[in-house]
Amino acid sequence: MEKQNHHINWGLENPELKQPYGSVPDGYWASLEAAVQDRIHSEEAPADGPMSLWERTKSHVFLALSFCIIMGFGYGVMWLTGTMDQQDSVAGSGSWDLSALVEEGYIRSTAGDPYFSELLEREGDLFDGEELLLKCVDFDEANEMISQLNQMEIMDYLYE
């Protein structure tokens, strides 16, 4: 059987050869535009280059700024209502609610303590070390030490 391509012009001058060879999938040209746009938009974000100093610190600056605004607002309200003066007077007076602290057990009251009262009657006044000494040793021993030792020596003893 004779070959079908017997009469084909194989020369490059054949104009049919200049036509595109192959095909593209259905709807390719229509979808290409959207695909290219998607690629462009997805590549544009990271293509902005390294972040500037402002971009890196922006969130921190805004956080600090909002904190300052809140503080400033609070300060302004206190200043307008006069609450700040009251706060200052309380803070400046140094007057703690001692009874509450004694009740909570943070400090021990010497008021009504018979040992303390007796010693106070005799000596007139006590310093911190002597009061502490009374809490550590019994009354007679403490009394004797107080009469014989000076303040520094009592402190050394307590330290040891």
Partner: protein
């Protein structure tokens, strides 16, 4: 749309997308077939074409109109395709295998014209990348050597010689297939 009309439209910030889409519609098929003839495969041609349009978008601000817009587009397309072919060649060398481009070609045509075109495409893929570029631009696009010289950055004399060699090779391959 002329180059000037396009560039004027592109300069308007809010009409850039519109201008770009016009450009894409005008030249994308031309560029696609140029790439497809160089690589032989649709998927590769599609990837390259998309890369090329992204590059065009990114670099359009730098286009000064020193050459025709279409020449500039072909320059980007050709360089991108040559770069792919070089990498592909290197990959096949490392695998100790021949480039696979020709194997992508469809082989199911019954028509003589299609068979002929397939044989030509196979023959083109046997050419070295630079010769292939010159052959495709001159034979199919019928570009002047002057224009091909701008696209490839090669002298007109060298291009003429290159095309002559490519033409002879292709002719021989086609005759041997007869």
């Amino acid at each position: 749309m002329t180059d000037r009309e396009f560039l004027d439209l592109w300069q308007e910030e809010d009409r850039r997308n519109y201008a770009f889409n016009l450009l894409l519609r005008q030249y994308t098929q031309q560029l696609y077939w140029h790439i497809r003839k160089m690589v032989g495969d649709h998927d590769v041609a599609n990837d390259l074409l998309q890369n090329i349009w992204v590059k065009v978008w990114k670099n359009l601000d730098g286009f000064r109109g020193e050459s025709k817009l279409v020449t500039w587009l072909y320059t980007i397309a050709t360089h991108e395709t040559l770069s792919y072919l070089r990498k592909e060649r290197l990959r096949s060398l490392l695998r100790f295998a021949a480039p696979e481009a020709a194997s992508h070609l469809e082989a199911s045509e019954d028509l003589d014209g299609e068979r002929l075109k397939r044989k030509l495409q196979k023959a083109i893929l046997t050419l070295p990348p630079k010769q292939r570029t010159v052959f495709v631009l001159r034979y199919f696009e019928e570009m002047k050597y002057e224009e091909i010289s701008v696209i490839t950055g090669t002298s007109e004399g060298a291009l003429k010689a290159s095309y002559h060699h490519a033409y002879k090779k292709i002719e021989q391959i086609l005759k041997s297939m007869d």
